[in-house]
């Protein structure tokens, strides 16, 4: 299967196999007017299998969110057919507006206009906690 190479755009590479749709949804790529290609289960020397997302335009992405989904992802910015920049991602210290706190005792459960903010408390185990009540994300 071949997908046209892009002249000006972004290639999100080394996405863990199966995670591309999650990233697509979180980044809101469905709202873009340009071409977006999702490649699933591509053979990879490093990962065995990987997903790739190609976006046919250069836009400002939320790098923190990409790092949260998978810090091993690499992002290539392509300009005039050449790689302009390769970004290595890392786990962001804070994430806002992506996760929701599930603790019914948290202030965000009653004041729903408050921004949902999470902080990284354990980098090794990739644990984020609600900034307000310290409940672990996903619990």
């Amino acid at each position: 299967m071949t997908i046209d190479s892009i002249k000006n755009g972004i290639v999100i590479d080394h996405i863990a196999a199966g995670k591309a749709m999650e990233l697509y949804a979180i980044l809101g790529l469905g709202e873009l007017d340009c071409s977006v290609a999702i490649l699933k289960n591509v053979s990879s020397g490093k990962l065995g299998k990987k997903d790739i997302i190609k976006i046919d335009t250069i836009l400002d992405l939320d790098w923190d969110i990409i790092g949260y989904v998978d810090p091993n992802i690499t992002v290539n910015i392509i300009k005039d057919g050449q790689r302009l920049e390769k970004r290595q991602l890392k786990l962001p210290e804070r994430i806002t507006g992506v996760l929701r706190c599930k603790n019914p005792r948290c202030i965000t459960s009653v004041e729903q206009e408050l921004p949902q903010e999470f902080k990284l408390t354990d980098r090794e185990r990739r644990i984020y906690r609600c900034l307000y009540c310290e409940t672990q994300a996903g619990k």
Partner: protein, 307 residues
């Protein structure tokens, strides 16, 4: 507001700042009259969205003892929260009427929201089962007065270690001192949450043991921190009734304790410490209440920038 110093979590204070607060509190205890007018003309607002007479009176007593004045409410039904006002709006309003705010709220994180929107310092006076930093400061002042140090102490925590926010906060605070050893005594269902063990005790290299047998570990302890099993933290009444009498401290159980053990309790107690223990000089929990007033005086002065 960014440039206003609040106190939401005990760990916002460095150990040096805690030492300074303990030092000021000691000076207040020595000579209260010297501090009787430090806050003349200042107003403390006590915003208590859930009742807590003890904590509220302690704050009010602290401010009045400094020469200041107090206003506020003692339950949500007598505030505009009953009309659906947000915490942010309540605090924006009240911070125009007062110089400092003490807030208690049943929802965890509410004082953090308040601190972000207030024009004046906000002190977290307890948010649900989450933080209660002035109780921890009270505990720390008590420990320092009773033992003369924070370092090299074996601290036992007994009772509800799962929902007990005072336990989690004091463990976090004590984990910053060299030579701290923690002994955890609780029924299986009320054990210290694993995240506190991993992210506080293990992360700081603090040795700890877990047991269900209080008497077996009693001889090791320098401090025994008793807690109440709190009805309001349970969603299920049956669980509360089954666990509420798990540990009751009696004079018999203290037979093997050190002669200089200090018994602390954040109060109120129900029956987890027998009244017969009150006569024991090692019972420090009523002295602890007194320290609560002095450390709050020191904290109010610090946050208001008063020397």
């Amino acid at each position: 507001m960014e440039n206003v110093r609040s106190l939401i979590d005990i760990l916002e204070l460095s150990t040096q700042e805690i030492d300074e607060l303990v030092e000021v509190a000691a000076k207040i205890i020595e000579d209260p009259a010297a501090y009787a007018h430090k806050c003349d003309g200042k107003i403390l607002a006590t915003l208590f969205f859930e009742p807590s007479t003890r904590t509220r009176l302690s704050f009010e007593s602290a401010m009045l003892s400094l020469g200041g004045q107090v206003l506020g409410f003692s339950e949500a039904s007598s505030s505009s929260a009953a009309k659906g006002e947000s915490v942010a709006d309540t605090v924006r309003t009240v911070s125009c009427y007062a110089d400092i705010i003490a807030m208690r709220h049943p929802k965890e994180g509410a004082p953090l929201v308040a601190g972000r929107h207030s024009l004046v310092p906000v002190i977290n006076a307890g948010d649900g089962g989450h933080n209660h930093p002035t109780q921890t400061l009270t505990d720390l002042l008590t420990i320092h007065h009773e033992k003369g140090r924070f370092e090299n102490l074996t601290v036992g925590f007994c009772g509800d270690l799962k929902f007990g926010r005072t336990v989690h906060s004091l463990i976090s605070a004590m984990s910053r001192y060299a030579g701290t050893r923690i002994v955890l005594v609780s029924p299986e269902e009320l054990k210290l949450p694993s995240y506190v063990k991993k992210e506080v005790l293990q992360k700081n290299g603090i040795p700890y043991t877990q047991t269900t047998d209080l008497e077996a570990v009693m001889p090791e302890l320098d401090i025994l921190y008793m807690t109440r099993v709190q009805r309001e933290r349970f969603f299920n009444e049956e669980d509360y009734l089954r666990l509420k009498d798990s540990y009751i401290l009696t004079p018999d159980k203290l037979q093997n304790a050190k002669a200089d053990l200090s018994i602390l309790h954040p109060l109120p107690r129900v029956n987890e410490i027998s009244v017969a223990v009150d006569q024991d000089p090692r019972a420090a929990y009523f002295r602890q209440v007194r320290y609560g007033r002095y450390i709050r005086m020191a904290l109010i002065m610090k946050l208001l920038g008063i020397q």
